[in-house]
Subunit: 221 residues, 2 copies
Amino acid sequence: MAGKVFFSVSMSLDGFSAPESMEGLLATPEQRAQDPRLERWMAQWMELHAWILPQRFFRENLHLGEGGEEGRDNDIARETYERTGSSVMGKRMFDLGEHSWPAEAPFHTPVFVVTHQQRDPWERSGGTTFHFVNDGIHKALDQAREAAGDRDVRIAGGSETIVQYLNAGLVDEFSIVLAPVLFGAGTRLFDGVDASRVALVPVRSEPSSRVTHLTYTVHPR
Amino acid sequence: MAGKVFFSVSMSLDGFSAPESMEGLLATPEQRAQDPRLERWMAQWMELHAWILPQRFFRENLHLGEGGEEGRDNDIARETYERTGSSVMGKRMFDLGEHSWPAEAPFHTPVFVVTHQQRDPWERSGGTTFHFVNDGIHKALDQAREAAGDRDVRIAGGSETIVQYLNAGLVDEFSIVLAPVLFGAGTRLFDGVDASRVALVPVRSEPSSRVTHLTYTVHPR
C-alpha cells in the first residue's frame, strides 16, 4: 500500500525557511569571521534549527557524538525520519547538500533529484543513493513512491520544489516546525503558493519547550 | 502601576494579517457579487477570522445576537479585550474602521490614532473615544499608557504601525492567532521588521480546535 506524500520544514514566525542567500551554508568559519553578513546568516540558520541540533536522534544520525535531548522534539525528529521511505528534492538543495552533507548523507534511502542535468545515480555510504530525474515533478514522485514501498515520500525541499508539489495537488500533508524567531528577509517557504487551489485542515498543533509542531492535511479548493 | 504594551493579531500560516488591498472590507455585497477579486478578498478575510466570529464574546461585544461558542477561543478573545485599557492604531486602520465599525465601536476605551491629521477627539457611544495624535508613535504611546492606568496598551494595528512599535523596542509581548489558511499574497504582518534588533522568547503555544494561539515576549538583541 502506498504511503503519504509530505514535507516537514522549520519555519520562522514570519514565514522564512532559510535566511537570505543560501551561500552562507557553504562559507568557512574564516569567511564568516570576515563578513558580518555571513556571520548573521549562520546565526539565523542556527536559531531556526536550534530545536533539532541538541536532539539525540539528530546527533546519532549525523554521527555528532553520544547523548542528547530525548523529549518530544527528539521523538518527532525520529518519527519524521522513520516514516520516510524516499525523498524528492530540487536541484538547488542537492547542489548545496553535495557540498555540505557528510560522506554518509543523512537520508539512508533513495533520493530523487528533480533536475535538467543528466547524471548516473550517485551512491553514498549508509544507504543513500541520489537518482537524477529529468522529466518533471510527477515522474520524480512516481519513482519516489515506488522506492518508498509502504512508507511515505518526503518532499525534502527547497521551498520552490515544495510549492511546485503543493500547487500540483500532490502533497497529502505537511508539518511546520515554527521557530520563535523573526528573519525579516530570506527564502519564504510558501512563496508562489496558489492559495486559490490549496486548502488546509489542521491535524495537530503541539508545543514543545523550543518550538510549535504544526501538522495540516492538504485539500483542493 | 503601568501595564504592558502588546499586540494580538490573526495571521495566516504564510504570514499575512490581511488579504491584498483592504478595500474589500468596504465593498458592498452587490460589489462583491460582481467582482470575483472582492469576493475572494472577503472569503480570505472570513477564513482568517473564522476562529473568532462564532465566539460568544465577539457576538456580545458587537451586538450580533445571543449565544455563541464558549471554549478556550472565547476565553482568549475575552481576556484580550479585558486586559486592554487603551489602544493605539495607525491612520489607515482608523480610516477603514471609521467606515466599517458600528456606531458603538468595539473598543470601549480611549483609542489613540497616530496621524498627521489634526482633528478633535471623536466620542462614540459605549465609551470609545478616538484621540488624534500628531507627534509620533512615542507620544501616542505615552498618552495611551496614561489612559490605560494599570491595564495594558494594545497596539491594535495595522501591521505597519505594529512593526514601527516593534522596531522601536516598545512592545513587551504579543500574541499571534495562527489560522490554518494560506493567502499567497496580501499584507504581511512582519513586513519591515528589523530582525537584527528583535529577539523573541516563546511564552505560550496553545492549540484550539480552530487555530493555534502563540504568545512571545520581545527582547532587544
